[in-house]
Amino acid sequence: MSVGRSAATPFWLVGPGGLLFLGLIVLPLVLTVILSFHVYDHTTGIKNEFTLAHYAAVFSDDYYLGIFWRTLRLAALTTLICAVIGAPEAYILSRMRDPWRSVFLLVIIGPLLVSVVVRAFGWSMLLGSTGLVNQTLQALGFDSVRLLYTETAIVIALVHVMLPFMVIPVWTALQKLDPMVEAAAWSLGASHFTALRRVVLPQVSLGMLSGSLIVFGLSASAFAIPGLLGGRRLKMAATLVYDEYMHELNWPLGATIAIIVLAANLVIMLAYNRVIETRARKALG
């Protein structure tokens, strides 16, 4: 199998990349964990003493807890809405014929490649007090509503950005499903609803699970959307870290919050993986 001449060959091949990643992933993360334990003084800056005060402060102060709670709540809501919209949309796409199928798949997942700043800006124009949404509402005889700089605006834009991450895994799962199986269920007397529930849904739910994992993780650490659509007062975890770093200049506290975000992300990923593995094992019997 091996084409190498000596045992050292693979190390020469991965060496440059491996060193770069050790130096720019492992080392900075370790340094950041250490930084989060440093004492910070508002006049002298970062001191060479260590403390747990930042973690204690973050977990006891209502201000920080409120922002964490909002982050979790909005990320969960975004995940739910993405699942409710994304899964049926992927199913509809999978039932389309070419060329429509490829065209609309491109339309749905293509925006993934457009910068998040651009998409957030688009929504701030749509949702602003004189934006298109409010103009339409007024034209229809309704009062204008305040949307920009609200949690609603954040969730709408987050759903827009995250939707492809839900459609892609569900689509992939559906590709593995033979459409004839659904047809077989009908011919055996199952109603469309029963066929959908008993044949399609079990296949789709694995895709939805992995989609939810990605959507939740990315939403909880989203920066541009809450930054541009939440304004200065509606903060989420990422914008809070940015403020601690750039405006308060309290790096140790910012590092603490970043490490908590990372830890929460990893725990959720591991838990989800566990669930997915158990389900896959059950499915295999």
Partner: protein, 264 residues
């Protein structure tokens, strides 16, 4: 093949409108002759596109982002191809750990990476350096390249290589003349995907750019938090056009669905 019912098609239309709405609005507002963010109805104007060129900071950031993305994508390919070769074809201690390390930027939030890079740079005195910014981008985009290159190694027919070897070709010749042409689509696709991801990156870059190395998304973010005028729409429209062009190339060459669906 079953068909979608009217309810399904209505739902689909709503979803597609939702997805396209902000992008369409940007492209329309970019052509407004007014001073406000309004959709032009009677006359169109290019004044806001011209306005971009009166902002040298935007032009500088654009050029900066182009260089950054080009260098980062190229370096990332240079690292990924040998790494993918080693991980795909050799069994060596630490192989799985390295593979996980290479893919880890997909799991670590960019916010955390930005904070971590900033700490490292502050300690080694590298803040504001363009070269280190490139290195950060290489780390963030390498997972995308690695995945596509790995996929093309895995799908490769080894018999052509063995044939060349039997005919007396050296390892390097085999790689250069047989293997490389076969993995070229994966490399090109990976390069383009990496380029786009680097060009669009905001959350990590905002922590590690200095006034001299501000990238276009960072500049746009800063500008949009201060004021909103139609020039932002013009810049955004240009970015959408650029992305659409790259998407078309990617789609023609490899099938965008394959590249994006293969990616997580």
């Amino acid at each position: 093949m079953q068909k979608n019912g009217p309810v399904a098609l209505l739902f689909h239309t709503l979803v597609v409108s939702f997805v396209l709405a902000p992008l369409v609005v940007i492209c329309l507002v970019a052509f407004t002759p007014e001073n406000t963010l309004s959709i032009p109805t009677t006359s169109f104007s290019l004044r806001w596109f011209r306005a971009i060129f009166e902002h040298p900071d935007f032009v500088a950031s654009f050029v900066n982002s182009l260089w950054l993305a080009t260098l980062a994508a190229t370096l990332s390919v240079a690292i990924s191809v040998p790494a993918a070769l080693a991980i795909d074809r050799y069994d060596f201690p630490g192989r799985n750990a390295l593979n996980a390390l290479f893919l880890s930027p997909l799991i670590i939030p960019h916010l955390v990476l930005g904070v971590a890079f900033l700490r490292l740079f502050a300690l080694i005195g590298a803040t504001g350096s363009f070269a280190w910014l490139v290195a950060c981008h290489v780390v963030v985009i390498t997972p995308y390249v690695l995945r596509l290159v790995m996929a093309s190694f895995t799908g490769l027919d080894r018999s052509a290589e063995q044939a060349a070897m039997t005919l007396g070709a050296s390892h390097w010749t085999v790689f250069q003349r047989v293997t490389a042409p076969m993995i070229l689509p994966g490399i090109t696709g990976g390069w383009l995907l990496a380029f786009i991801n680097s060009f669009d990156e905001l959350t990590m870059s905002i922590f590690v750019t200095s006034p001299q190395t501000v990238t276009l998304p960072v500049r746009m973010y800063m500008y949009a938090t201060e004021s909103i005028d139609p020039m932002m729409a013009a810049v955004s429209a240009l970015m959408i056009a650029l992305t659409a062009a790259a998407m078309l190339v990617l789609d023609r060459a490899f099938g965008l669905d394959k590249i994006l669906v293969g990616q997580k």
